[in-house]
Amino acid sequence: MVTPHPNHKPPEHGIHLMTDTIKLDINGKAFTLAAEPRVTLLDALREHLGLTGTKKGCDQGQCGACTVHLDGERVLACLTLAAQAEGKAVTTIEGLAGEDGTLHAVQAAFLEHDAFQCGYCTPGQIMSAVACIREGHAGSDAEIREYMSGNLCRCGAYPHIVAAVRQAAEAVR
């Protein structure tokens, strides 16, 4: 037998009332939300918790706009169920700056290098870049391009994004 998740309530007579209580740790704060099990981490953040900094682009894992960190590692929130994130630390773009509003080195570098045009992919780019630098994959422009390839920018701001990541990597080092 498959044991249901302790919070799981079975569907009632064909009506899909499968609302679960999902507990999430986001940017160091505890949240409890009532949501169906099919709700992705992306929709939980944006639609249930009002954390709209994480963007929905393709919603199919192809563009990287929804990149967040799970226990410090970059993942795609659109292909992660909110329930899968239970018990793990979620970090979003809203959790990157210091308490006093001081920007993270990567955020500051993106501003300095004008590493965006429309800005829609930017939160995902920044979350990805923070992890890319932490992983040690920002050693050269070629390496930055390869390890940032999961984040598409349809405005084509790539040269500035590479410059920003390079500068932030040096600042962190």
């Binding site: 498959v2 679960d20 990287g64 992660t80 999961g150």
Partner: protein
């Protein structure tokens, strides 16, 4: 996505039981399952998360061989020093696949089970006829846009290509897929489409992938994975080659050679004809280029994908020559 229930398997036995329940699906990294659920290709009623099972994410590699737990994540295996040292083609095939985010999420077990990227397969609303999704309904790809379809191992029922990178390396080096007690050679783990393109693996209800193992060899230690694609990164292979090479003490004569192709066939495609042609011969550009054409023995083009028949042998040749220091 249609509504489903979510639960966490508390033991391997629970996950085995889940595979016998109609409408239930195992969830590992979710990068394939949730993607296909969003496309409407799969409509699970029960999703059973197996990622919290203990002991299934181990990574071991030495010159004797490698063993990876089914839940080992792509990024971890790709970066593992012992894998890089003893099975470089395995590490390369993983780090050249998908994106850094997806590799952090995806598991090796889920990776093997990924489905074709055939655009008709992935769009049930627009294209109801797909023998892989809906047996007997026909094949919408025939006569359509076929740039990424297979030229090897196809059937009248289905011309889809298998898109995975890792599995191409696994068949080259005689890896084994472990389903608990039962062990299946990687080459047999992928089935030809024939009349039943919906049946892709010999895995039975009650079985889950527990591990992947690869015997050690000199060829695996001197190996490479060359992936050629429409854009430089974050793209599936137009054609790829997993190659391993062992030379005799004279440094010239080929003692052992492994060749497998990706992105061009209905399953990861071992090319024994190229191996047989070159083993015992001297490693020269001329011999390698001539023999590499055997990689597409029996290939059949379907419109747009004819370029793969030209491309695949060149990818094989370049991979062998680069390993031999000649390219």
């Amino acid at each position: 996505m249609k509504p489903f229930t979510y639960s966490r398997a508390a033991s391997l036995d629970e996950s085995r039981t889940a595979t016998t329940v109609a409408g239930a699906a195992l969830l590992a990294g979710g990068t394939s399952l949730l993607d296909l659920a969003k496309c409407g290709v799969t409509e699970p009623e029960q999703v059973v998360d197996i990622t919290r099972l203990d002991g299934l994410d181990t990574i071991q590699a030495s010159s004797e061989g490698a063993r990876f737990g089914a839940l080992a994540r792509m990024s971890r295996v790709a970066a593992h020093a012992d894998v890089l040292a003893n099975f470089p083609a395995v590490a390369q095939s993983l780090s050249l696949a998908a994106s850094a985010q997806l590799r952090n999420m995806a598991t090796l077990g889920g990776n093997l089970m990924q489905r074709t990227r055939c655009g008709y397969f992935r769009d049930p609303r627009a294209f109801p006829n797909c023998n892989k999704r809906n047996p007997g309904s026909g094949c919408a790809a025939l006569g359509g846009v076929t740039r990424n379809h297979a030229v090897l191992g196809t059937s009248e029922a289905c011309i889809a290509s298998y898109p995975g990178d890792l599995a191409t390396v696994l068949v080259a080096f005689d890896a084994v897929v472990h389903l608990g007690e039962r062990a299946v050679p990687a080459d047999d783990f992928f089935l030809l489409p024939g009349d039943t393109p919906d049946v892709e693996h010999p895995i039975q209800p009650g079985e889950v992938i527990t591990a992947i193992s690869i015997p050690g060899s000199a060829a695996a230690k001197r190996s490479t994975y060359l992936k050629v694609r429409d854009r430089q990164s974050y793209e599936f292979a137009a054609a790829s080659a997993a190659v391993g090479l062992e030379l005799e003490a004279d440094g010239r004569t080929i003692r052992d050679l492994r060749v497998a192709l990706g992105g061009v066939a209905s399953k990861p495609w071992r090319s024994r004809a190229v191996e047989a042609e070159l083993i015992g011969k001297s490693l020269t550009e001329e011999a390698v280029c001539a023999a590499s054409w055997r990689a597409v023995d029996g290939a059949v083009p379907h419109g747009d994908n004819a370029y793969k028949i030209e491309l695949a042998p060149r990818v094989v040749a370049r991979a062998i020559l680069s390993l031999g220091g000649l390219a």
